[in-house]
Subunit: 258 residues, 2 copies
């Protein structure tokens, strides 16, 4: 018998960086994190916060592609923050480790508590987030889903975007990946904080409903919502990624050119 490993080391961006994460339990980083990282334009060179970073996949993906970006991985769970620190110690990540730090802090803190935890007001040029949702909800019966949906996420985007708006510099961008069901809550929570939102639906196949939505907006901007052409992950048949999805997932393209 082989013992189950406690941790795995996975390679992303065709070898550009590696990620330590707990094996076989909880939420494992993958597609969502890579797509979220794809919201940051090429050549971004400021300070970026990855809120609720988990093991750090999205933030590391930005650091790997944007060679002058400085990244802070903000994670509340000690075990996940420890994974992120281990990732930074890997030889494979030497090229980016000097530009990435791990901050063990709760995104939902506010006021002085947030500042004391290391998240000072107006200190980030870009904020990315993949807020946790109860993954069980995706597998629940429609009835259960209906009853729990609002309870589960009640105020989640409001609290996370309140923090994002506080720590953002003027004209800083925020990018959020979430379920399409959360779009209304996200737009409401952006209102008055970040403007000119651009929403990009992510469909598993051309003829299937969206499974995720990527929203990007700018602090202080006042434009209205734009709906961008969708990202399609796979063709209608087969398991291969589409050319665009493959480029995004592997850090060779971005979803926003500006």
């Amino acid at each position: 018998m082989h013992p189950e490993p406690d941790y795995t080391i996975d390679t992303f961006h065709r070898g550009a960086f590696q990620l330590v994460q707990p094996a076989g339990k909880g939420h494992r980083a993958g597609l969502d994190a890579m797509v979220l990282a794809g919201a940051v334009p090429n050549g971004f060179s400021g300070r970026l916060a990855d809120l609720g970073a988990g093991a750090g996949a999205a933030g590391l993906a930005v650091a790997a592609r944007c060679k002058d970006a400085r990244v802070v991985l903000v994670e509340r769970e000690a075990e996940m923050a420890a994974c992120a620190r281990q990732s930074l110690a890997l030889a494979a990540n030497a090229a980016l480790a000097g530009r990435v730090e791990v901050l063990e802090a709760d995104v939902e803190l506010s006021g002085r508590d947030r500042e004391r935890a290391g998240l000072a007001d107006r200190t980030f040029d870009f904020i990315i987030m993949n807020p946790p949702f109860n993954a069980a909800a995706d597998r629940a019966t429609p009835d259960l889903l209906r009853r729990q949906a609002h309870v589960m996420e009640n105020g989640l985007f409001e609290r996370w975007l309140r923090t994002a708006a506080a720590i953002a510099q003027p004209e800083a961008d925020v990018a959020i990946i979430a379920r399409p069901a959360s779009l209304g809550d996200i737009l409401a929570a952006l209102d008055g904080r970040f403007g000119s939102p651009r929403a990009l639906p992510i469909h598993p196949r051309p003829e299937a409903n969206a499974i995720r939505i990527l929203v990007r907006a700018r602090k202080g901007a006042r434009g209205m919502l734009n709906l961008l052409p969708p990202l399609i992950l796979h063709e209608q048949e087969g398991h291969a990624f589409t050319e665009q999805a493959d480029a995004i997932i592997n850090g060779r393209a971005t979803l926003f050119t500006d």
Copy 2:
């Protein structure tokens, strides 16, 4: 010199019905109305209200495709309601005129005023709407647009969906066509009235942002937002409609199968 005509008679659905409308001024019916009508499934056989019907293009398109549907065109402007009545008197519309009536009433009435105007509670099985927006806004400068956007539409969807919810039978559907910028307001106004919303973006070309969004939801349903694959009007090059757009616009297909 030829005098400008006051009214035109346009043919839709490849001859299935004709529409009288004022020439050369105001909002002329076309694509939006045909796409909105495409939200009603084939074989729909109940009573449908077209709120803010204008000359009646969307409601007539439903009546032309759904041979057992009964349609009420609700329009506040006397001139537009008169156009709708003239349309019903045309020989070309004889097959559907007996199932269509024109109600000159303001959608924004409430309570007893609304009922007295002819819109009784719980009397419709489907409600479609293309709420007016200041078309000038689409041509305004971004700055002007930003300043006016919230003022122009402040509460519009709230008031229209309040009426829709009142006149809808239990489990009746509502369909709305609007600008993507209005999606947040629409979702907020649906909340607590119509559930299980399905949003379908409409893009002029595959690589262009959406210009319209079609939203359908059901009274009393409690499911979360789904984002459907988009409708693309034209291929990336050329002026011809895509196969799907052509079928929708000409009443040979629908955007929702149920």
